[in-house]
């Protein structure tokens, strides 16, 4: 099957494939009005919070934006960790109170 596929399947090595990938990326961010840099900032913040409580395996972290269509986006995170952060008392790691009602897609 895979031989047939590789023989006759669409060869997507050209700049057309690059165009498609670049478009996918840019539209993801256009649609949620969150530019890539801000997105990275958000990911870092999320991880920093988790790292207060758990020992995160930073190299295997994956946080991605998934988009089913123009209206529905979701953030999918895989955050492997190896245990609890030693002695991180809940008192000094407490977060400032936040009032965001998880506005997923404004």
């Amino acid at each position: 099957m895979s031989i047939i596929k590789s023989l006759f399947g669409r060869r997507r090595q050209g700049s057309g494939a690059t165009a498609k990938n670049r478009l996918r990326f840019v539209l993801q961010h256009d649609r949620i009005h969150l530019p890539p840099e801000r997105m990275e900032e958000m990911k870092r913040e999320i991880l920093a919070v988790i790292a207060k409580y758990l020992v995160v395996d930073q190299d295997r972290v994956e946080i991605d934006l998934e988009q089913r269509d123009r209206r529905q986006s979701k953030l999918v995170a895989e955050v492997p960790f190896s245990g609890q952060q030693p002695a991180a008392s809940a008192s000094d790691a407490r977060l400032p109170a936040m009032s965001t009602d998880s506005a997923e897609n404004p």
Partner: protein, 273 residues
């Protein structure tokens, strides 16, 4: 303001828009007007690109203009007086844009009034939208029952199309259908251009037409005889297919992507799709 007239009897109002400029809105509007008329429909085409009038020239009617859309809106002429009958089709009329004014001379409400006045006498009213997302686009969008979005298989054009789709949906005129214009078969085959499938994957919009790059479009704009009148041209043929799809006919797509149809179908089999 009133968003009445969702084709309750009378003409269907179809706006041709794009976001990015120069992708083929005017070409599409002219050719769909011609095609729909040649299929026996009563058609009015409105040039909403105030200040950059072009539809008249593409349709070969530029030397017949006396009054324009702004004259109508500002009461200097009756709507009927501004309508120019096509040389070849008795039931095809153009309402030209003003060349010397700007977009603010017409409001969305004006557009609704004009189309409401036309509705009962026509089957289709096509509106050629200007590029961009400002007033001119708002004018063209307001009276629309349906929006056709023209794009080229090219990164910036597709990005702008997506932006327009968002605005069309926000105005509850969505989702709209897509015309992919200027597809270059040989480049797609080599993987050097987005295919219609790629554009579909990205935008998630129904495709109503795929128009190939065709030199005949240039000669048509030189002569003022749109390609839809020339069935030897691939683009002309493709536009007439779009017209039939607008009328609800199920017309198969020409194989323009150069994706070998048989292999593709085979792949689907193997994939169990």
């Amino acid at each position: 303001m009133e968003s009445e007239g969702n084709s309750q009897g009378g003409a269907r109002v179809i706006t041709v828009s794009s976001g990015k400029g120069g992708v083929g809105k005017t070409t599409a509007t002219a050719n769909l007007g011609i095609s729909l008329a040649s299929l026996g429909n009563r058609v009015a085409v409105i040039d909403a690109d105030i200040g950059l009038r072009n539809l008249d020239i593409i349709m070969g009617l530029e030397n017949r203009i006396v009054y324009d859309l702004v004259d109508v809106v500002e009461g200097r002429s009756k709507l009927r007086q501004a309508m120019i009958k096509h040389k070849k089709f008795d039931d095809l009329f153009l309402i030209p844009a003003a060349q010397t004014r700007d977009k603010m001379a017409v409001s969305p409400e004006d557009m609704t009034r004009v189309t409401e006045e036309l509705r009962e006498d026509f089957d289709y009213i096509l509106i050629d939208s200007p590029a961009g997302i400002e007033r001119g686009f708002r004018n063209a969008l307001e009276p629309a029952d349906e929006v056709l979005i023209v794009t080229n298989p090219e990164v910036s054009a597709v990005r702008d199309a997506d932006r327009i789709v968002g605005l069309i949906e926000a105005a509850e005129k969505g989702p709209g259908r897509l015309i992919i214009n200027r597809l270059k078969t040989d480049l797609v085959r080599k993987g050097e251009m987005l295919s219609s499938d790629d554009v579909y994957d990205i935008l998630g919009l129904a495709i109503i037409g795929i128009i190939p790059e065709d030199e005949a479009v240039l000669s048509a704009s030189n002569s003022g005889i749109p390609v839809a009148l020339n069935m030897n041209s691939q683009a002309g043929m493709a536009f007439s297919h779009v017209a039939r799809r607008i009328m609800g006919e199920d017309v198969p797509f020409m194989n323009l992507d150069g994706n070998p149809g048989i292999f593709r179908r085979l792949m689907r089999l193997f994939d169990g799709r």
